[in-house]
């Protein structure tokens, strides 16, 4: 099972829109809730009310500051979960076959009953997408909500990952990257979706939509374009009152 399938029928994954993510952590907790109650062992929390609480989470929101050359610094919230890589190194290193990539949709999973908790897969993942459960001691990772997306006990509209369903800003999109017509493929094409760490050659399926350009005022002189809009109709209140009357006339 540690062999990667040579190809997968579909390539399911997420598009995460960095222009829209407000860093609210809603997806983090929805994921924690769903996956505590569903796939595999519950996601545990060690020292839950103590000095050093450590829980397993399958999705975490980082935040970065970026300093452009001539504009104010930007802050970017950055959600990160498993990218369901096509060349998943986490799968090939696994000695037990617990880690595998599904041939039908490319989802990378851990079969917990086979996992010895060696941690090697987490070492092999460049993205920090795998965490050992602190109580159950098996490897945990994003399942792409494989127990939701096909689940016939859920209404059709809910057959999407918990994090996508809950994201209040709509910054997360789920779909099939193998289908060029899918919403995710289109978003990637339109907005220039990027791969994280391409040089690691993991060929991640998930893509990130980069933030749109910000603070354009710092770069251009659009004031000139806007200036005519502010051409005074009056410099003095008296003049404005005269103008008002004419403006009302036109009603």
């Amino acid at each position: 099972m540690t062999d990667l399938p040579t190809s997968t029928a579909r390539k399911l994954g997420l598009v995460i829109d960095l222009d829209t993510c407000v860093g609210c952590h809603a997806c983090v907790v929805a994921c924690k809730g769903w996956n505590t109650e569903n796939y595999g062992a519950p996601l545990a929390d060690k020292d839950a009310y103590g000095a050093e609480p450590v829980g397993s989470f399958l999705n975490r929101i980082h935040s970065y500051e970026v300093q452009p050359a001539n504009a104010p610094a930007q802050l970017i919230h950055f959600p990160k979960s498993c990218l369901h890589c096509e060349g998943a190194p986490c799968v090939t290193v696994c000695p037990t076959g617990a880690s595998y990539k599904r041939v039908e949709d490319g989802i990378v999973l851990v079969n917990e009953s086979d996992c010895i908790g060696c941690g090697l897969c987490a070492w092999a993942c460049p993205y920090g997408a795998r965490e050992m459960d602190p109580v159950e001691n098996v490897m945990k990772k994003c399942t792409l909500c494989v127990d939701r997306i096909y689940n016939e006990n859920l209404p059709e509209i809910d057959r999407e990952p918990a994090c996508v369903r809950t994201c209040p800003a709509g910054a997360r999109h789920f779909g099939d990257f193998a289908d060029p017509e899918s919403n995710v493929s289109q978003l990637v094409a339109e907005r220039g979706g990027i791969e994280l760490m391409p040089e690691q050659e993991t060929k991640p399926v998930n893509r990130y939509l980069p933030p749109r350009p910000k603070d354009e005022w710092a770069k251009d002189a659009e004031i000139d374009v806007l200036a005519p809009l502010l051409a005074p109709v009056a410099e003095e209140p008296k003049g404005l009152l005269g103008w008002l009357d004419k403006a009302l006339e036109r009603l």
């Binding site: 989470f57 975490r60 980082h62 970065y64 290193v93 037990t96 060696c118």
Partner: protein, 290 residues
């Protein structure tokens, strides 16, 4: 990377053990009966003990046998198989020497090759990881092999091979440290590629996703100070290589040999601690840690 005790013990001891088995299998020294027993017992204690230590690192050691299933793709699995086969082959070889005083050379050579390949497989567990640029390099294999063979030579009394191997390994080690400091930078992975935000400007980490630590930061983000590392490197060089070689050059004596071995072992532990502690995992970039 977090320098976990069990893994340091595992790599250090099993390396030494298989190094001993290599020399014993090669046949330059074929101890028989009680002497044989002692040497093989030590070699087995080291290699098997090391392997057992590695299971302390496992979340589910009771499932350890499952680790043998993925030899086609997993170096960890391969290492398991190779270790077992080698131990099996060398077991027969040893039995012949210990119980019959018979030297079955071809079996020994096979075991020697097995030992080498096992150590190579161990080294590949680390060297294969693109995520740890410092490890993802030929020096990792060479160092594992060099230390295994050098240490094995030392333990089996192969004085000149030991001196040559230890000195050359020390040289490679010094090079690996030097060059290793640049390897993360040279890997092409940095905050910009990690976040894809480099096009906008210089990227720095602001808030971590959680205020506390997590498995990743505990396991993969371990920061040793530069000065501290330098000091430990010097200690490792002196204990692991310089002093043992010096002692080997003195007129031979069991006591000195034992001392050399003890010093080497201490040095080896320091080396391995550094091997892990200095290794930067690229995931640290997401946390703004090197």
């Amino acid at each position: 990377m977090h320098p976990a005790g069990s893994i340091i013990v595992f790599t250090a001891l099993s390396g030494l053990g298989f190094g001993m088995l290599f020399w014993l299998g090669l046949g330059h020294f074929t101890p028989t009966y009680w002497t044989g027993f002692v040497f093989f017992a030590v070699a087995y204690a080291l290699s098997v003990g090391g392997l057992l230590a590695s299971t302390f690192h496992l979340g589910h050691p009771e499932r350890a046998l499952k680790a043998f299933t993925q030899w086609r793709s997993s170096w960890l699995s391969r290492e398991g198989w190779l270790a077992c086969i080698t131990l099996g082959v060398m077991g027969l070889y040893a039995a012949a020497l210990v119980f019959a005083g018979a030297w079955l050379a071809p079996l020994g050579w096979l075991g020697a090759v097995g030992s080498l390949v096992t150590v190579y497989a161990t080294s590949m567990i680390y060297a294969q990881l693109k995520t740890v640029p410092r490890w993802n390099h030929w020096t990792t294999n060479v160092l594992f092999l060099g230390l295994s063979l050098g240490g094995g030579a030392l333990l089996t009394g192969a004085v000149w091979p030991a001196i040559v191997l230890l000195l050359s390994t020390a040289a490679v080690q010094v090079y690996a440290w030097r060059a290793g400091d640049q390897r993360l930078a040279e890997s092409g992975t940095d905050m910009a590629t990690a976040t894809g935000l480099g096009g906008i400007g210089a990227v720095t980490a602001f808030e971590p996703p959680h205020t506390g630590g997590n498995y990743l930061t505990h396991e993969m983000v371990f920061v040793v100070g530069r000065k501290h590392a330098r000091k430990l490197q010097n200690i490792a060089l002196i204990l692991g290589f310089a002093l043992p070689v010096l002692l080997l050059m003195l007129p031979s004596s069991h006591l000195l040999a034992l001392l050399a071995i003890g010093l080497h072992l201490a040095g080896l532990f320091v080396l391995r601690w550094l091997f892990f502690a200095q290794a930067e995992h690229v995931v640290g970039l997401y946390y703004g840690k090197r």
